[in-house]
Subunit: 382 residues, 4 copies
C-alpha cells in the first residue's frame, strides 16, 4: 500500500506538469519560486539520497551532476567551480530529468518489494512522499507565478478553481478553557506539529466562511491601501515600496478588476474567497473590519466546526517550536527548525494541497510578505 | 509628586547628554539610531503636542518648525517642501533645543500646579514621562553607537558598566501548570502588557544568571559562527552578509578580544554577562549548549526567583498582542500595535533603563537582527 | 543580390541556434543578455515593423502579441497590463517563433522581388540585415554566458575558437600628422561612423598582435589584481565588489587555470589572445606594462598595417558623436545616439562577427565593466 | 610671496566656514559630500604629510589619529580596528581641528622662512595651496548641500550670488583649423592639463552667454523631462529613478518655482544662468534646442572671446588623458589619473572658485549624474 501511494505520488507530480511545454520547465519567475524542472528533479534526488544510497545494496548514484544540482541542502556541500543557480539550469534536459525520475522510482519500488526491506526505508519513503506532496503544491504556485507574470497570460487549465463561498456567514462560539493541541496519533506527521500540549484559550467566535473577493473589494474601495492606521509599520512600507494596491494577480483595466487564474485573465468573481494576499494585507483587512485573525490554536480547536481546505488561512501566530521540539540530527534535521523566525503560521489546506496531505494539526508557514501561495483569511471576534 | 517626577525625568535626559560635546548632538550613526538632539527635542514635542496644545488654555506652539521636525508620527502629517531627515538636521542648534525644552518643561509644570488641572493631563504627563524614559534608554544605545563606531573611541564615562556575574550557576525549577500573566495593577503600564490572562506552561528550569563573556568566547572558539547547523537560515545569512564573527563592539587585536564599552576600548572581561548580540546569535548560542531561550511567559512566571535588570533578555516569543488588546484611536494608538510583526520580545531591564521604569510584566521588543540595544540572554531547560 | 544576402542572413541566425535545445531558448543568464528566442523574434519584428507594415500593401501584423513582446523600443509604447520581461517569456514557443520568422522572411523576400519595390525598402532591408548581424554576434555572447554559468558547462561546438597569436611581436610606427577618419564610401554604414573628419595624431607605435593569455597570466601572478595603483578608482571598486581575480569564464582549479570556451572547460592556452576582460582590466594591464591602449583614431589610422578581426579591441576613447552627427527622427533615431555617455569604443571585429559586417571605420561600444563580449586588447607606445 | 599666498589661502578656508555653527561641521549630507570639518583637517594633513614630515627636520606628527583620520588616500594605509567614516566623526572637535590647522600653518610658514628651505618645498606648498583651493570650492558645494536639504533652509549669506545674464545673445564664429590646446607656461598647473598638443576643429559658433533660468523653465514647461527622445538612455533612467523634474534645489510651491540659494529659499530669477544640472539634463536641454554642448577644445580655443567664470560649464568631452600624460609615482600620483573613466570635463570657473585658481586650460571633471557642483551650460552650433 505504501508502494502504491509512492507510485501514485510520483505519477501525480508529472501530471501536474502535463499542461507545460518544454520551454516552461527551466525558467524561474522570482527568487522564491523554482523552475518546474527543479521540483521534478529535487524530489527525485531526495529519494535517491535518503533511501537508495544508504539502503539499497550496490546502488550507484544515477549521475554525479544531478546529486549536486538538485540538492537544496547546499550548506553541507563541498566546493565546486560554480554554484548551481536554479534559474539558469537549461541542462539537464526535461527528458533527462524524466529518465532520472523513472530510474529512481523503479529502484525505490523494487526496494519496497523486497521481503527484507528494512523498516527505516518505509519511514523514509513516507517522508519522501510527504516531501514530494509539498513540492506538488509549490509546483502549482510556481507555475501560476510563471504564467501569471507573462503578458500573454498562458492557459494552464481549470484544475485549481475555487468553489464559491455563498452560504450565510455565521460566527461559531468557542468557550474559554484549557485545550490540547498538537499531533497525537500514529500516522505520518511533521516534527513541528508533534508535542501534544495544553493551551488556555479565552472565549472567541470564528467565522464559518472565508473572506470573499466582494468583501475585499469593499476594503480597496474604502481606501484600505491608503489608510496607514490599518497597517503594520512594515506592511505599510511593503505596499508602498512595491506599489501594491490589490491582491497579487489582480489588474484593474478600465475601471474593472480582473485576475489571472489558471484559466487566463478573468473578471474577479465576487463570491469566491479572496486569495494571494500577504499577511500584511490580511491583517490590515481584519483591522478594518474591527475583527481579527485567529491564532493557530484557536483555529485548530475550532476547526472541526467549519469547512476548510480551499485555501490556506493566515493566522496571527508566529511560527515557533512547540514544547519539547527537537531538531533531528543530520541533514533531515535541517527540514523545518531553521525557519522558525519571522514567519507566520497558516492552517488548513488549499485546492492545490494533495488529498490527505493536511490535517487539523498541520502547520504551514510563510513570511508575512509572501503572496504567491494559495492563501486567504477567516475572521474571529473576541 | 507627579510634578516632581516630571521635573526629574526632564532633568535626567539632559544629564545623560552632559558628557557630550556640541558636535556629538546632530550626527546619526545608523538608520536605527537617532541623533541625541533629536531625542531631546522629540520628547519635548510629545509634551507640547499631547499635553499643552489640547489642555493649556491659550498655549501657542513654541515654533512651527519644531512641531514639524521632531514629530515621529510622520504619516499623519501634511506635505512640506522637504521631509525632515534626522541625520541632516544641524539646525535648530543645541542651545535652541535646550531653550525649547525649558519652555515646555515650565509650561507643563505650571499646568500641573493649577488647581483646575484636568485629570487627563495627569494621565498624559505620566505617559510622557514613560515615553521620555524610553528615549533615555535609546539615548544610551545611540551614544554608544556613535562613539563605538569612531576609530578614536571617545570616552563617555563609567555609568553603564555591568556588575560581574560571579555567583554559582543554578537552574531554578518551575512546575507545570496554569499561570496568570500580564499587568493587573493600578500603576502606569503600556497597552501591550495589559490583559491579564492565563497560560499553561510545561515544567522547566531557568538559570539564575546570564550567559557570560567567557561562555560566549567558548562558543566563538568552538567555531559557533562557522557551523550553520546552529543557526536559523536567516541568521546564517545575516552573519555571513555582514561578516559577523563576534558580538557588536568586539574587536580582535593580535589574537585578543577587546570591546568598546563607554569607557573606551577594554579587554573583554570573562565574568561579565555577554551583551550586544542579535537574537540570531543568542539562539545559535543556546542551540550549541543544547538548552534554549525562555518564552516570555516562562520568564515572567519565574522572574521573582532570580535577579534581573542588568541587561534586557531575549526570549523566544514573537511580539504579538495579548487577548483583548486594542489599539487606541488617534495618534497615541500608533504607539505599539503597528510593530507587532517580525519582532521578538525581550524581558527584564538594563543598566540604562531608568529606575522604576520596568516591571516583570514589561514587554520590550526588537527585530531579531538588532544588536545595539543592551541585551543578553538567560538559558532554560525543559 | 540583396534578396540573397537577406535570406542568407536570416538563415545564419537560425544556424547559430542549431546546437541549442528547446530548454536553452527562453532563459536569460544576466540582465545585459537576452534569451536566444528573443533575438530570433526581435530581429524578425524589426523587418515586420519597419519594412512590411509601412511598405507592403495590405500586410497584416502577424500577431499583436509578438509586435508587443519583441519590441525593444519600449519608450514609445502605450500601456499594457504587464511589461514584457525577456527572462520570463516561455511563450510564444520556439516553434511559434520559427513560424513567425518564416512568415516575415517570405513576405520580405516577396516584396523585394516586386518590380515596383520602392527604394526605401532596399535601404531598410539593408539596415535590417546589419541589425540582424549585430544580434548574431550578441547571440554568441549570450549563449556562451548561458552555458558558461551552468555547473555542467554544456558543449556548444568549436565554431568560435581563436587562432593562436604566435608571430613575433613588433611595434609598427605611425608618424605624427593630420589624418582623416570616419566613413566616406557608398556602402552601408552606421550613422555613428559617418562624418569623415580630420584628427591630429602625435607619433606612436602599435603592436602587431593582441595581448596573450600568457602575458595576462603574468599580470595575475605579479599581483595585478591586488595593486590598486594600476587601476581606475571605479575599476578597483568593481573588481573588489565582484570579487574578480581573472577574466570572465576563468576558473582556478587546484592551482591551474581553466576557461570555459564553447567546447567546454579547457586549460588556458598561453598563446591564444586573452579575452573577456572589462575595460578596467584592459587598462590596468596596460598600466602594468607601462604602455597604453590606442585611441580609436590611432587604431583606425594604423589598422591597415596589422591583422585584426579575432577579437574586438578596447580603445581608450569614449563613445562620442563625430562632428555633424545628427540623430534621425523617429524610432530609428533611437538606435545609437542615446548610448553616447559612459561607454568605451571598441574597434575591429571578432570571430563571432558576421563576415563583411565590420570595417576599419566601424565603432562598437560597451560599458567599461562589461566582460561577456568577445574583446581583447592591443598595446601602443607613444 | 608664496608664504603670503599660503597664509591667505589657509585663512580663507576658515573664512568660508565662518557663518557655520559648531553643529554644522560634522554632518555629511550625502555620500559625495564631506563634512566641513573634514575639509579643514584634510587640507592640513596634506601639508603635514607632504611638506612637514619629509622636509622639516625633527618634525613630529601632531597627532597620530589625525594622520589616520584625515587621509583620503586610504588604499595605501595599513589596517586599523575601524575605518574612518567621514560622516560619523564628531571627534576631534572643531576647536581641536582649528588648533591642528594653526600648528601646521605655523610650521609650514616657519619652514618657508628658512634660508635653506629646499626648492622641493616651494613646489609642494604650491601644490598644497592649489589643493586647498579645490577644497574651498568643495566646501561651498557641501555647505549648500547641507543647508539646502534641511527643511528650515538655514541662511549662509550672499557671497555666492550670480550676476544676471542680461546682455544680448550672440554666437561667436570660430574658423576650422589646427589649434594648440593644453597648458604651456611656467606657472602652476595640474598634470592633466599639461601636454600642449594640436587638435583639428571644424568651424563652429559659440554663444556669448550661459543658458538662463528662463530658458530652462521653457524646457521644463515644454515637457522636456517627459520626452525620452531628448535624453541619453542612462539619463532617462536617472531622472526617472530619482524622480527629477527640475534642477537640484528647485521646489515648485503652489505653481511657482523657488530655489534654495545660500540666502534661503527665493523665487527663481529668470535672468540668472541656470545651475545645478547634471550632464544628462544639460545634454537633453541642448538636444531640445537643436544645438549642442561644446567639446572641451572648442571651449578652450574660443574662451578668449566670451566672459566666463560664474559657473563651471559642462562640455561634451569625456575626461581622458592628454598625449604624453603620465601618472607621478607614489601617493601624489593618485591625484587625477585614477578618475579618467566615466567622467565629463567642465571648463571655466565658478563664483566659488578662488581667484586665480582657474585658467583657460584648466580641466575640471564630474560624473554625468552629479548636480551639487556650481555648473551651468553654454550652447554651440556647428
Amino acid at each position: 500500500m505504501l508502494r502504491d501511494r509512492f507510485l501514485k505520488t510520483r505519477n501525480r507530480t508529472q501530471e501536474i506538469c502535463s499542461p507545460l511545454k518544454t520551454e516552461d520547465y527551466s525558467v524561474q519567475p522570482m527568487a522564491d519560486a523554482s523552475p518546474p524542472k527543479w521540483h521534478l528533479a529535487h524530489t527525485t534526488w531526495f529519494f535517491e539520497q535518503f533511501v537508495l544510497v544508504p539502503h539499497k545494496p550496490n546502488y550507484a548514484i544515477y549521475h554525479a551532476d544531478f546529486a549536486y544540482l538538485f540538492n537544496s541542502y547546499y550548506n553541507t556541500l563541498g566546493d565546486r567551480v560554480l554554484r548551481p543557480n536554479r534559474g539558469l539550469m537549461t541542462r539537464p534536459l526535461v527528458t533527462e530529468v524524466m529518465d532520472y525520475r523513472r530510474h529512481v522510482t523503479e529502484n525505490v519500488a523494487e526496494l519496497l518489494d523486497r521481503d527484507d526491506c528494512p523498516a527505516a526505508v518505509f519511514e523514509l519513503v513516507e517522508l519522501g512522499i510527504n516531501h514530494e506532496e509539498q513540492h506538488q503544491e509549490l509546483l502549482a504556485y510556481d507555475i501560476k507565478c510563471l504564467f501569471g507574470n507573462q503578458p500573454t497570460f498562458p492557459l494552464y487549465g481549470r484544475v485549481y478553481n475555487l468553489p464559491n463561498e455563498t452560504h450565510e456567514q455565521e460566527f461559531i462560539p468557542v468557550k474559554e478553557g484549557l485545550y490540547e493541541v498538537g499531533y497525537d496519533g500514529d500516522g505520518f506527521h511533521f516534527d513541528i506539529e508533534k508535542g501534544r500540549h495544553k493551551v488556555y484559550l479565552e472565549a472567541f467566535e470564528i467565522s464559518n466562511r472565508l473572506v470573499t473577493n466582494q468583501e475585499y473589494l469593499e476594503f480597496i474601495q474604502a481606501g484600505g491601501y491608503q489608510n496607514f492606521n490599518l497597517w503594520h509599520a512594515e506592511g505599510w512600507e511593503f505596499i508602498n515600496e512595491n506599489d501594491i494596491k490589490a491582491p497579487m494577480y489582480w489588474h484593474e483595466i478600465e475601471g474593472e478588476w480582473f485576475r489571472y487564474c489558471m484559466e487566463g485573465l478573468v473578471a474577479v468573481n465576487p463570491v469566491e474567497p479572496v486569495m494571494h494576499l500577504s499577511y500584511y494585507e490580511a491583517a490590515a483587512f481584519a483591522e478594518w473590519t474591527d475583527l481579527r485573525l485567529p491564532t493557530e490554536f484557536e483555529w485548530e480547536v475550532a476547526s472541526h466546526s467549519f469547512t476548510w481546505g480551499k485555501l490556506w488561512e493566515w493566522t496571527s501566530s508566529a511560527f515557533l517550536p512547540y514544547p519539547r521540539f527537537e531538531k533531528k540530527a543530520g541533514a533531515v534535521g535541517e527540514y523545518n527548525g531553521k525557519f522558525m523566525v519571522n514567519q507566520k503560521v497558516l492552517r488548513g489546506a488549499s485546492v492545490s494541497t494533495p488529498q490527505g496531505h493536511s490535517r487539523p494539526t498541520y502547520r504551514n508557514f510563510f513570511h508575512p510578505h509572501m503572496r504567491w501561495q494559495f492563501a486567504g483569511l477567516r475572521l474571529v471576534r473576541s
